[in-house]
């Protein structure tokens, strides 16, 4: 089988010639998935050159249709060879898969790598602007709530790399609409989680953390009906409130990506604030980060976990840019005012002097996001639905000369953000 793709108007047309059977169905599915990953959500299949269509082929077409519907895209076959029309008609799938050849382009639904044309949003609640950043990434700014702002609750029951004292642990509710990051674990009480404390990230009722008991895989809790997720944490930054903006970003040129500090700067510009918070769902270009390898709860008075080489036992560094093309949920708090109360909970971003930040990210298998304005709760729920987290990292800006890995970067995604208007410190 031969598969070719071309952009036609606002649609991506995939032309298939030859046999679409069990041997080729997965290849077609993979090809279309790659196109969807690149942002092409309006797909037409040109089946005029198809010579054979088996049930395996039909199943792949139905799968493509379902996956595109999940991201508010569309899929149809046009034109189709007569036998294809007949096969689909006999299968009762004509209405689902066949579309008229003269079907007008869907102007209200910008498609496929079509962000260059998507300059305006007409919705009453949103206003969109476009502009290319210096790194050739296109941002769309959507105003969600002009008065949107978040209050941050900061708890530093533990400071690296001291012993965890009795009473350092705090029960932190992480149900919607809270979002946050820190070091904690799920368990009965402080003693129960002492040997499992790890980095965590939470947003929209989903909480993921990396237990440091050797499990090497993130665990997670998802809010469901009366179940409200919470962790016992020794360190946490939790935001609550309304997001003021949604930033959608995508590459304006091939291989373009947005770095985490680009995102911080864009959010601070957009929110016109000195301190802000963000929750971001994005496709990963590369992540750089570290995570706890041993629980801080196990630090003894004689240990020096913050010093090399003992640090190796306590922290795991990624060593290379990781998780390319996976999906990531990032929560970050950042400011550019060192005198801001939040600054005590942040660390300098070496590649952007003056900027301070704290960001955690949970990595999941890739799932495409619909275009336009997204609801955070629904988007995060979709990402976690039947999807197991792969890794969890405290993001690091590695600016070492020559050998540095740089900072984490993203290809495309959605970033909900708001200025921080209040900060509460909790002491334990």
């Amino acid at each position: 089988m031969k598969i070719e793709s071309r952009i036609q108007g606002t649609r991506m047309v995939v032309q298939v010639n030859g046999r679409l059977d069990a041997a080729w169905a997965d290849l077609l599915l993979g090809t279309v998935r790659d196109l969807v990953r690149e942002g092409h959500h309006q797909v037409r299949l040109d089946a005029s050159g198809l010579e054979y269509l088996s049930s395996a082929g039909i199943r792949s077409l139905l799968k493509i249709r379902r996956e595109l519907e999940a991201v508010s895209g569309s899929f149809g076959i046009a034109p189709a060879a007569p036998f294809v029309q007949e096969t689909l008609r006999m299968s009762g799938l004509e209405a689902l898969l066949l579309v008229g050849e003269e079907m007008p382009a869907d102007a209200a639904e910008p498609a496929a790598g079509d962000n260059a044309d998507s300059g305006t949003e007409t919705s009453a609640e949103t206003v969109a602007k476009t502009g290319a950043s210096p790194s050739a990434v296109r941002f769309e700014e959507h105003i969600l709530d002009l008065l949107g702002a978040v209050t941050v609750t900061a708890h530093a029951g533990w400071r690296p790399w001291q012993q965890v004292l009795d009473g350092a642990c705090l029960e932190v509710p992480l149900s919607r609409p809270r979002f946050g990051l820190g070091i904690g674990a799920a368990g009965r009480d402080a003693e129960d989680i002492r040997s499992r404390l790890g980095d965590f990230v939470a947003a929209a009722g989903s909480v993921a953390w990396l237990p440091s008991d050797g499990a090497d895989r993130p665990d997670y809790l998802v809010q469901n009906e009366r179940f409200l997720p919470q962790l016992n944490a020794i360190q946490s930054l939790v935001g609550e409130g309304k997001f003021s903006h949604l930033l959608r970003f995508s590459p304006a040129a091939s291989n373009a990506c947005v770095t985490l500090s680009d995102l911080y700067e864009q959010v601070l510009r957009t929110t016109r604030a000195d301190a802000a918070a963000l929750v971001c769902l994005a496709e990963v270009e590369g992540l750089v980060g570290a995570s706890l390898a041993r629980s801080p709860g196990c630090i003894q008075a004689s240990d020096q976990p913050g010093e090399f080489p003992e640090l190796r036992e306590w922290l795991s560094f990624c060593g290379e840019r990781v998780h390319h093309q996976s999906q990531v949920l990032v929560v970050a708090f950042f400011c550019r005012d060192p005198s801001h109360l939040l600054a005590a909970h942040l660390a300098p971003v070496p590649s952007r002097p003056g900027l301070l930040a704290h960001a955690h990210a949970v990595v999941l298998p890739f799932r495409p996001l619909p275009q336009g304005v997204l609801d955070l709760d629904a988007s995060v729920a979709t990402v976690f639905d039947d999807n197991t987290p792969l890794a969890l990292l405290h993001l690091i800006d590695d600016d070492r000369p020559a050998v540095g890995l740089g900072e984490s970067a993203f290809i495309r995604g959605a970033c909900w953000c708001a200025p921080i208007h209040d900060l509460t410190h909790i002491t334990t």
Binding site: L311, G319, R400
Partner: protein, 270 residues
């Protein structure tokens, strides 16, 4: 029971080719435990097996089997306690001798040998019974030269020979690595059957992660001459191949955490 205490071995010391092969290995393998050793090339897996078998003298440390300190015993003397199966299926048998003759040798391993017939009738009967238990149909080919058998069949017979006298310790050095996938699976299954039936204490080196997950009671991960991680009990029962690969990756990442990275993390891991 195998008890390794602070084993050190450096090859070519004081030369440009110096290799610290074993760096302070402490291991206790209780009676009846089947342990697998995994690790990258050069991690010291096979060196550890050779150290236990007595292929070279240790620089430091002691080896105990069932409470006996065998550190000073020569290799041939340790053979009375240890059964070994090597990676090469042609290494453990004499190709020109028949199956029955090869097996008769293993029947009398560690015993005084005279000029009497090794293959008397009762011995043949016992050999046929044991070979039949392999379910390979070889009991009818006892008089064929063992060199006429396939690699998998020879390795199965080598395993039978190594365990004939129920050794106090069985050493398996990548004993399925040179076999085709189907034979490797058969020999692996046979290994587990024999170890469980005879309640043997066994140490197996393998590069096969599925084997390491499926066969043993305990997994020992080695890297650069050290034991870096062990999986046993509940942790072993839940471990899967991707977990082992992730653990190797973690070991590799740990090495990349040099003083410069430590400084970076010290500043940014708030």
């Amino acid at each position: 029971m195998l008890d390794l205490r602070h084993i050190h071995k450096t090859f070519f010391p004081g030369t440009p080719n110096e290799v610290q092969a074993l760096c302070g290995i402490d291991l206790l393998i209780p009676e009846g435990t089947f342990a697998a050793i995994i690790g990258t090339n050069g991690s010291g897996k096979s060196t550890l097996l050779n150290a236990v078998a007595g292929a070279f003298d240790l620089d430091q440390g002691a080896i105990h089997i069932d409470g006996k300190n065998i550190s000073a015993w020569p290799e041939y003397r340790r053979a009375s306690l240890i059964g070994r199966v090597f990676q090469n299926p042609f290494a453990g048998t004499a190709a020109e001798m028949t199956l029955a003759e090869n097996l008769a040798l293993s029947m009398r391993r560690g015993c005084r040998r005279g000029l009497g017939l090794a293959l008397h009738r009762s011995a043949r009967t016992e050999i046929a019974d044991r070979v039949r238990s392999l379910n390979l149909g070889l009991e009818n080919r006892l008089d064929n030269p063992i060199g006429t058998l396939s690699g998998g069949q020879r390795q199965a017979l080598t395993l039978l020979m190594a365990t004939w006298l129920r050794p106090r310790l069985l050493l398996l050095d990548e004993h399925t690595a040179a076999l085709d996938p189907k034979s490797a699976a058969q020999v692996a299954e046979l290994t587990l059957t024999i170890i469980r039936r005879e309640k043997l204490t066994a140490l197996m080196v393998t590069h096969s992660m599925p084997q390491a997950v499926q066969l043993p009671d305990r997994i020992i991960m080695m890297h650069k001459g050290r034991v870096v991680r062990q999986y046993e009990g509940q942790e072993k029962s839940r471990v899967r191949v991707p977990d082992l690969l992730a653990a190797f990756d973690q070991v590799r990442r740990r090495e990349q955490l040099d003083p410069a990275v430590a400084h970076l993390l010290h500043n940014q891991y708030a």
